[in-house]
Symmetry: C2
Subunit: 751 residues, 2 copies
């Protein structure tokens, strides 16, 4: 654990200049607006250790797969998120000396991420070029204008020595990825332009081995400033225009930079991209900085109105939950159905902006509660739009139907470990489940009866081809799979995967009975096919142990040495840092909930006894070495009235990055795990469920807290739930009256 | 199938110039002497498609492991056999035109590998430089002088036009590996020298990421010729001295090149290497070409005296068995205990010269029969000498004792697929078994009671730590393993592995009871440790199916869809080219014998009924997609009196490379699979077994054959076994009288 920022309800803030944890601070002060995002690196440049990262939604590179030994069905490439051209760059010099906090030590330092208004401010005093100056850097990525990054620099001369300040408006394509295989650069510059008040650069991603998926991107940065334009500078990969102003004692300057980008994801060619760039620059130049900020902040105010969570009596928890929602919304807010939620969002290279099953399993359940249904629906559409890629993935394995990828940018699998690529196929069930989850939560059947029906049908076709019939057992089985618990690889009959496969087939049959004729004709599921699916549903093998009364994670699991985690010497933990992969695979230790993930999905389908037996068996074997794990356990513990355990599990997830629990936040934030705190509070502590079109609550108040309250969207209403020592208080903030179930009693809410 | 050479009993020969199959021909005409080897590439150079490959025993490069996602316990490097400096190079020009068969078309072409004398001869007529000449290239790699390659070129002017012939004596370090990751060159030249009658070059392998395992090698080539010395030539990576002679009509020239190499494997520094080079050059220069050839051939004559197999009535089979023994002996003949038998020997890059379990499981059983015991003993010592590496491998997995590597040059694991690296651990049992096999065959206990006892002890320590106790089953188990059948990965309780682990522990306990006090003290196996091993032996789980009466390959195997291979559409075969890895893993199809490998190992321990039930169950599921597979099946079929099946299986292995069955011989020969034909004939058709220190035979004669005979070494005797229509004829060629068992009857053999 390492906490580098102060605890404050709406701020991630520090007054400590801490170059030792520079990368960690950069991760923590990331901003984003779904269309782009960046780490909190310094615009003026920094010659010390830094991970300069700025990423564009959906702009990536298909890199050649690296495996020990190629085999049929392996993905041909893996997608690499690429560091974008640095178009917020703003080098500064004072009396000829470059401002570089690796070389001059600031005083009065303050770094502040304002989560309420989604703005980053950095200020400090500095002796540089013989003068003493104060600097204030402000930055936001507009939630109102998706292409826009706004920056403002204010410099004031604090001393008597005159200071000639030179600031450059630069766009720099000389960037790299730390994970580049051969230290190669990913950008080729197509054109550069310098005007007195703006610079412009277009670049294209480099050629790849697959002759596809190249992106052209234009960047333009315009300036409003008190400074005078001076010389310009161009090199192959960079363009810059300088501005200068001499500050006498107490004088100050302002330098505003408005940067926009446009890519070939939206426009056909470079000319169209440049036209659109000019149009956008004209648009944003016509507004004051204050106007731009106001539009941005209005957007965020609306987000918080629907989603804010308040925790009384625990400032750390308060900051934690807001930080999580802030970063989640910065990564995705449902504006573009071609984008998704990378496990590290726009905050680092590893996992990058690629799509994982985290989205369906962990993020959608949160977005359903905190944002308009359209946000979740766009996440569903993302998968519908990538059906063609899912067909390719199934074909690569010689199978029918659709196999959604474990990792992807475009629908085609790009994960390069076989035991995950074509074995961790539960994801196909999770994607089906998300359609059901959306439908039961929103009551909106428009998706499931149209696009959704097709996705379900093609996933079902995959399952029906992927199972085999064991004559010996008289059952359908799934051999060679990996469940959510990646510490058990290439197993047979993972209960969770089998359950989801069986359920998908059953649900698809139900939906097919409801679709209209046009959809049915398009899907062309024959009666024989349906009969086959029904047979699979009826005779699917779900490993169960009579003696223990538990579902068995996979065949053979109970033959392991089932020593509980707490009996291990703690020096063994985390296992993935201390044990060989071999030892991990042979152990019974569970990376993240697996059987328990299935029980969470269908929590109302199990008896309390079933839930308890499975929880009591599997929880002691779970090491929670995926940051996605603890929240599900928290919810189940709460469901089983194991309140202390529920809180303990919640605490593992609530401040994961704020307190750098996994000691890897410097590489980027755990964006999809940021869902955990909300899930624990709402599904766990408050017991929120949707049953038969009705919202249910059964809250308890964690002992450490005085109160907590959250806002939740449900079918056109915003409902506020407050839980304190006096009990639970429900109020309807907007929308029509609604009846909800509070711990077994029906309560009608009106404004 | 593709046959590019004529069928002849002692020759691999063709009169067809066939540039289309150049690489295949190069593989087939490989030569070697354990210390070095090379493909049959052209010394004069060839600008068309060729795989120029020349390899030095034990000279390799530790390349960085490439994996999708690094995990603890993965090997840090994989060993790459590197193409050696081309010191047989001999460019030729005639009247200024370079001789290059890619550009001039030869007539009267003949390429001949004489297996009896281990010499390669290539001859052709060529119009070049306006003249018509005949060329004869002779080549051998001395079996008598391990550092020596001898070459002789004879050129004769067949026409009237005078021909000025220039030949260069060159040493060229500008070579590359086709499997280089970054097209990098592996050699750095340290020094070059040109003398009138010799050239010399020393080179060092390039720096690697591990700061170790670098090799310095010196090469010297001296010349005896009718030609006159001319200009010399040097570049950074090459050195050459030219010779010229003008041939009038019917004139001829000879050009002999004697090349030697010395490496840092034997000498401490460059100076010592160069001294030794000069010493060797002086030695070989002092002998005529005929003398050098004679010493070489004498050596081979002795090899064949002990090992030749004659097959009457089947010329193809005759050629096949001799080719197999020839290539096996060219790869390894037990002269250097630091060397081993790479699956492709010196004939290609893939698998290279690294050591696999093929050596113990397939090669040692052959060498025991065809060569002095010292040959097999050196293969055992190889593992003893690499114990330190095996300790490292076990430690990397957090385990005690010794884990021998799946692939290695130096004892440290360098295979980079986790499912093999630390799961295909049956190899540890195979290495233990080889000690037992050597001992029972030779009757020589000196190894097993000394070095062997230590190897067995450390392997047993590994097994004892690797097993776990299943409380549920009350049995010791091995989870997370891969058997010889690599089409079932990461399974639990592979019967073969469990059997070998159990057997190793049992055998080690037996041996420990016999070792002398000094050895016992050194091994320091406590009574508690022995008791633990005994408990594991007593309660080891060996999967068995009562209903079918078979050993079960691994847990869950019988739940698969057990459709026999013959019911698959043949277009599916070979599976590894037509199916995804996913589909293969889920299928019941067996790459190579697994349960049957275990039954072969301990063939006398099973009842005929057990053998038959298992054979009849597993054989129909086996696809033999390892070239090691068919011979074991042939032996078991013979054992079960399924003679036609035994012959059919034999035929799959006998001419694997000669007829390019797997369509990949162009990449190199399947050296370790060359054991298959001998094993099938001797252990299969002739039923050779060693039981209680006695040799047993129970031969049958394949229907197609008139007769077969083989020579076998057994405890100081050379015994010849001839089987024809009249029965079996045994004769003792050398050694003391001996009694053998022939189909149940005792027969005493005398000279």
């Amino acid at each position: 654990m390492l906490r580098t920022f102060d605890v404050a309800p709406w701020h991630v803030t520090t007054t400590k200049w801490d170059p030792e944890h520079k990368r960690l601070q950069e991760s923590m002060t990331s901003l984003g607006n779904e269309n782009l995002g960046m780490r909190g690196f310094f615009e003026e440049g920094y010659s010390g250790d830094t991970l300069q990262g700025l990423y564009l939604g959906g702009v990536w590179f298909p890199d050649k797969t690296r495996v020990g030994w190629w085999k049929n069905g392996y993905p041909k490439y893996f997608g690499k998120v690429i560091n974008a051209v640095n178009f917020i760059k703003m080098p500064i010099s004072v009396n000829g000396e470059v401002v570089d906090l690796a070389k001059q030590t600031p005083t009065n330092f303050k770094l502040d991420l304002d989560m309420q208004h989604a703005r980053l401010t950095r200020s400090f005093d500095l002796v540089v070029g013989g003068a003493k100056l104060s600097f204030v850097f402000e930055r936001f990525i507009s939630a109102a204008q998706k292409e826009l990054v706004g920056q403002r620099l204010t410099v004031k001369n604090l001393g008597e020595t005159p200071a000639t300040v030179v600031v450059e408006n630069a766009i720099d394509a000389d960037v790299f990825n730390e994970d580049a295989n051969y230290d190669e650069k990913f950008w080729q510059v197509l054109s550069r332009t310098v005007n007195e008040a703006s610079v412009e650069l277009t670049a294209m991603t480099k050629e790849n081995d697959f002759g596809t998926e190249r992106f052209t991107v234009g960047f333009e940065s315009s300036v409003k400033t008190t400074m005078s334009a001076g010389e310009s500078r161009q090199s192959e990969l960079e363009v810059a225009q300088s501005y200068h102003q001499t500050l006498d004692a107490s004088d100050s300057l302002t330098f505003e930079k408005r940067s926009v980008y446009v890519s070939s994801r939206d426009f056909a060619d470079e000319a169209a991209i440049i036209d659109r760039l000019h149009e956008l620059t004209s648009l944003v130049s016509g507004q004051t900085f204050a106007e731009l900020v106001a539009a941005h902040e209005e957007n965020w105010a609306d987000r918080w109105t629907k989603s804010d969570v308040k925790i009384a009596g625990d400032d750390e928890a308060q900051q934690g939950i807001r930080f999580n929602l802030f970063q989640l919304f910065s990564t995705y807010y449902g504006q573009d159905a071609r984008l998704n939620i990378g496990p590290k969002g726009f905050t680092g290279e590893k996992y990058g902006g690629a799509t994982y099953w985290d989205t369906e399993a962990f993020a959608i359940p949160v977005y359903l509660g905190v944002a308009d249904p359209s946000v979740s629906k766009n996440l569903l559409k993302y998968r519908y739009n990538q059906l063609d890629g899912a067909f390719i993935n199934a074909q690569e394995q010689g199978l029918k139907g659709a196999l959604y990828p474990m990792v992807t940018f475009n629908g085609v699998e790009c994960h390069n470990e076989w035991e995950i690529t074509f074995e961790e196929i539960h994801r196909n069930g999770d994607i089906a489940f998300a359609i059901y989850n959306y439908t039961r939560y929103t009551g909106d059947k428009s998706y499931v009866l149209n696009e959704g029906a097709q996705v379900l049908t093609e996933i079902s076709r995959f399952w029906a081809d992927r199972v085999h019939f064991s004559k010996r057992a008289g059952k359908y089985m799934l051999a060679g799979v990996t469940g959510p618990d990646e510490y058990q690889n290439n197993v047979d009959n993972n209960w969770y995967t089998n359950l989801l496969a069986q359920w998908t087939l059953k649900y698809t049959l139900e939906i097919l009975a409801e679709v209209d004729d046009a959809v049915a004709t398009k899907l062309a599921v024959s009666e024989a096919e349906k009969a086959k699916w029904q047979d699979i549903v009826d005779r699917f093998y779900l490993p169960y142990d009579e003696e223990l009364g538990i579902f068995v994670e996979n065949d053979g699991f109970l033959d392991k040495d089932l020593t509980p985690v707490k009996e291990l010497d703690p020096s063994n933990l985390p296992l993935n840092q201390n044990w060989s992969w071999d030892k991990i695979l042979r152990s019974p230790y569970i990376k993240q909930g697996d059987v328990l993930q299935g029980i969470w999905d269908f929590i109302d389908d199990f008896t309390p006894e079933q839930k308890e037996k499975n929880f009591d068996f599997y929880e002691p074997l779970t090491v929670h070495e995926s940051s996605l794990s603890a929240s599900i356990h928290s919810i189940l513990a709460a469901d089983l009235h194991k309140e202390d355990q529920a809180v303990e599990m919640y605490e593992r997830t609530a401040r994961l990055d704020l307190d750098n629990y996994n000691n890897d936040t410097e590489d980027g934030l755990h964006i999809t795990s940021m869902t955990g705190a909300w899930l624990s509070i709402v599904q766990g502590f408050s017991g929120m469920r949707v049953r038969n079109d009705e919202l249910h609550f059964a809250p308890f108040l964690p002992k450490k807290w005085d109160a907590y309250q959250f806002r939740q969207l449900f079918r056109g209403r915003v409902i506020e739930v407050k839980v304190d020592a006096d009990g639970t208080h429900l109020s309807l903030l907007s929308g029509d009256p609604i009846t909800v179930d509070l711990a077994g009693e029906k309560v009608t809410l009106e404004k």
